[in-house]
């Protein structure tokens, strides 16, 4: 019986029929999705912190409005994704608890500090750029609520990347100090950005199953290569460079070759020892705890209104 259900399930996936929350699904599929979607949601929420750091110091009202709108979008992305995960049977509070206790991961890119205004440019161009590269194929993910959330997210992401590129372009055409600031930002953000695609294919044992379930459409290395190829060309328009002396066009492969990634650093940051891991988590926990009275007050108010209605 169980076997039969699994076959029907896989057959639907093979035929590109979306799985909806009430449909039968293997427990492993459910758990994998809960982990993947909630980690993605956490990344959107924690991802507001590095950029939030610069809202009050944006160099103009135009830039400030844009950055505010972008950060607000990221909050929205987190909410779309949390709701999608909830359809799989986990509660919002459980997911928050997993984040706050450190059991759940989020993208390690957000554990790097934002030291200058140019970092807002580098994050938009590279970090949102890498996120888009990851997310576009997820618009076709086999789980309906996830795919629909990703469609909404992707529509909104494209302005994020463009505003970042525009910041860098403006700086790169400015004075020497501004140009240097932009280059410095690229030097710090480039490698962590290409780490965002995750470990190399031979180090990601779950990829095969995820691709069979169509909750992943390309391997980490495929997406990373695509991203490197695009950025290697775009950086020329900025008149800046990517900090990789091995970055060269390979005629036979039809791709850019690039230098070795420092995976030690990656695993250090993932396991909690990045420059800002502690700050980020503390900021989230503080926001949650400081908001407790608001949540309680709103519940109490709703209760009171309900009972008043009954009396009237």
């Amino acid at each position: 019986m169980e076997k039969n259900l699994e076959d029907i399930f896989q057959d639907k996936i093979d035929r590109e029929i979306r799985i909806e929350p009430k449909d039968w699904m293997p427990e492993k599929y459910r758990q994998t999705l809960i982990r993947q979607i909630s980690q993605h949601a956490h990344s959107e929420i924690v991802g507001m912190l590095p950029e939030g750091n610069w809202i009050t110091r944006a160099p103009s009202l135009r830039r400030k409005s844009i950055l505010l709108a972008k950060v607000q979008d990221e909050a929205g992305h987190g909410l779309y994704l949390y709701s999608a995960a909830e359809t799989l049977g986990i509660t919002r509070d459980e997911m928050y608890e997993q984040l706050h206790s450190g059991r759940a991961k989020y993208s390690s890119i957000f554990n790097y500090p934002t030291l200058s205004w140019a970092d807002m440019g580098a994050i938009g161009w590279l970090v949102d750029g890498a996120a888009i590269m990851n997310q576009v194929p997820l618009c076709r993910a086999s789980f309906g609520p996830y795919a629909r959330a990703m469609v909404r997210v992707c529509k909104e992401e494209s302005f994020h990347q463009r505003q970042g590129f525009e910041i860098l372009l403006t700086l790169s055409r400015g004075n020497e100090a501004q140009k240097n600031m932009a280059q410095d930002a690229l030097n710090r953000w480039w490698w962590p950005s290409i780490m965002m695609f995750g470990p190399t294919d031979d180090e990601s044992p779950n990829t095969i199953q995820s691709m069979r379930w169509k909750i992943k459409r390309f391997t980490n290395d495929e997406l990373r290569q695509k991203f490197v190829d695009i950025c290697a060309d775009q950086v020329k328009i900025l008149g800046l460079t990517l900090p990789d002396k091995d970055l060269t066009w390979n005629e036979t492969r039809g791709h850019y070759d690039f230098g070795p990634i420092n995976w030690d650093e990656f695993w250090q940051v993932v396991s909690g020892n990045g420059p800002c891991n502690r700050d980020r988590l503390n900021a989230r926990k503080k926001a949650w705890e400081d908001g407790a009275w608001v949540r309680e007050a709103a519940s109490a108010y709703a209760e009171k209104k309900k009972s008043e209605q009954k009396v009237a």
Binding site: E20, G76, L79, S83, T91, A149, E156, Y301, A302
Partner: protein, 94 residues
């Protein structure tokens, strides 16, 4: 202390004259807050002119495992579709 705000399903009319369409869900303490949150979460780019919110617990759904029996009555009634009828080409405007 664990008291989550209830979950609400959000429906948005994107343009006057169109149906409200389900767009997702969110948590809110009451209906008013659900509408305000829905505005912030789902209409940041003028995606809507009207919002409906329904507490999720009030939604009753058909069971996907019974889809076969449930829709069976419509299965063999092709004559409900206009293409079922073979008419000569000379017949215009029908």
């Amino acid at each position: 202390m664990n008291k989550e705000w209830p979950l609400w399903e959000i429906f948005i009319r994107s343009r006057q004259g169109l149906d409200h369409k389900h767009v997702g869900s969110l948590h809110a303490a009451d209906a008013q807050m659900a509408i305000e949150n829905a505005r912030d979460v789902y209409t940041r780019r003028m995606e809507g002119v009207s919002i409906w919110v329904v507490e999720s617990k009030h939604i009753h759904a058909s069971n996907p495992t019974e889809a076969g029996e449930l829709y069976d009555p419509a299965n063999d009634k092709a004559y409900r579709h206009p293409t079922f009828y073979d008419l000569p080409d000379e017949v215009k405007h029908m």
